[in-house]
């Protein structure tokens, strides 16, 4: 029984790792090897694909652009969501339930519905092809998510904490920053993880709202694939590199994930 129990997650993880391995495998091959032969590991091991990405500015600026707007979006989302989530978890106010559902509907809105109007709207306010445009547009789904998760965490903090602090003579903002925020660090960590994740993986809006100056790495990849033939090795190397930021973020929140999921909502 004990041995069999290990089998399921192990097989699942192997299944998860296979396509990733294949991508890595391709990224270390030369183009001729990819096209002409089927090999389970690189026969002529090469780092040329990676070299090209790190030396060609059209490639590496793509990474910088992506990281730039993702970080910006995460900061905006969490900063705006913190007071709102507090309001939802502690107070009743006119239209609170409707507002909460309305927020959630934006998490449900298919980005494809918004692609064209976003393009026109951000062009008309002169934000087209800027990092701010992408960061703001990703707020559409990240803010509702952040409010939702944070509200879950905040509701699990007993209200007595607030009341005791006021009795002790804390002002609201002092209580909020000195006591309340430190008690929900795990929740904030999880929220940032999700905001980062959804902004990092989204491409449709990011691609629609950028042309040159703020083009994300993922868009650089699709355009290369279509213009300069099918450079699979280069594509695979660029793809492999997009996994790294995610892997780093997971490593930092690994201890929070299980705990955070249990307390929070998502």
């Amino acid at each position: 029984m004990k041995k069999a129990k290990w089998l399921v997650p192990t097989i699942y993880i192997i299944f998860l790792m296979l396509p990733i391995y294949w991508l890595l495998n391709m990224s270390f091959k030369t183009t001729t090897e990819i096209i002409n032969t089927y090999t389970l590991w690189p026969q002529e091991f090469t780092l040329d694909n990676y070299k090209k990405i790190f030396t060609d500015s059209t490639w590496y600026t793509g990474y910088l652009n992506s990281i730039y707007y993702v970080v910006m979006n995460t900061v905006i989302s969490v900063a705006a969501a913190l007071p709102a989530a507090y309001a939802f978890s502690r107070y009743k106010f006119l239209g609170d339930k409707h507002l909460f559902f309305w927020l959630l509907t934006n998490r449900m809105a298919p980005p494809a519905v918004f692609a064209l109007p976003f393009f026109q709207f951000y062009s008309s306010v002169n934000l087209f092809d800027t990092h701010v445009a992408v960061a703001l547009s990703h707020c559409l789904f990240n803010i509702p998510l952040a409010v939702w998760i944070l509200e879950g965490f905040m509701s699990s903090v007993p209200k007595e904490l607030d009341e005791t602090a006021y009795v002790d003579g804390y002002s609201f903002w002092r209580f909020f920053f000195k006591i309340f925020i430190p008690t929900i660090t795990a929740g904030i960590g999880i929220t940032m993880f999700f905001c980062f994740m959804f902004s990092w993986v989204e491409l449709l809006l990011a691609k629609t709202l950028t042309a040159v100056a703020a083009k994300p790495i993922a868009a650089t990849m699709t355009r290369t694939a279509s213009t300069s033939g099918y450079e699979l090795g280069l594509l695979a190397a660029a793809g492999s590199l997009t996994i790294i930021p995610g892997a780093i973020v997971i490593y930092f929140v690994r201890n929070y994930i299980a705990k955070g999921f249990a307390l929070g909502r998502v």
Partner: protein, 288 residues
Amino acid sequence: MNKTVNQKAWFFVIPVFVLVAFNAIIPLMTVVNYAFQETFGNNVFMWEGTRWFKQIMLSERFHASLGRQFLFTFIILFIQIPLGIAIALTMPKEGIGVPVCLVLMSMPLLIPWNVVGAMWNIFALPDIGFLGHSLNALGFDYNFTQQIGDAWFTTILMDVWHWTSLVVLLSYAGLRSIQPAYYQAAEIDGASRWAIFTKIELPKMKKVLTIAILLRFMDSFMIYTEPFVLTGGGPGNATAFLSIDLVKMALGQFDLGPAAAMSLIYFFIVLLVCWVFYTLMMRNEEKS
């Protein structure tokens, strides 16, 4: 928690409200604007009433992509939810195995969606991809760019690969929140493994599972990038789900009126299903 009535709480909500409204209401009004009018560019609009809505509602193309969308969503929910629960149940509960499993399983969730599509494209290519090559070597006639069945199989397998971990993580969190006392009581009563699952674990996971189903429904219903990169909606229109069809109509053919009408119908369907879920969820929460 009993909440106090405080209208000033609105001040806390204002930043969120402004940011989301900025992104949601103005573009949505643009869509509504297009949905009722005909335009030839240069900001010249003619009122069309509900013509585009009628056209979309009666078009076979829309019925077909809506049908494909529902079929796809049902298949992946049917696979991912039970599979996710099964993996969560068998995951280690303590020791070094926990972070290893969590980190490795979260990996697919953090890969940009077009990279997921590109990765699976390379992985499934019949001649040089591991999956395609292996299947052909085993005697299956597999080619996802030519055969409809293979295209569906690959798209579903990709989605299972991509998103089952989310269900696993949520279920695992739900399982972790069960007090050991419940299991001890079950052991004293001599409950079978199946009874423990249906009587203790499943009810305790109800809340997280609702969220998992809700998230998976929403996200699979708006799936765009991965199948677009993997199959491009093909062969033919076989894997052209709603979003792919919509973008094709709006940005490819520039049929703004019908595309806008379709957007609104599309959004309305998602909203309706999610509202039902949300109401059920909130009712459960009030009960407990």
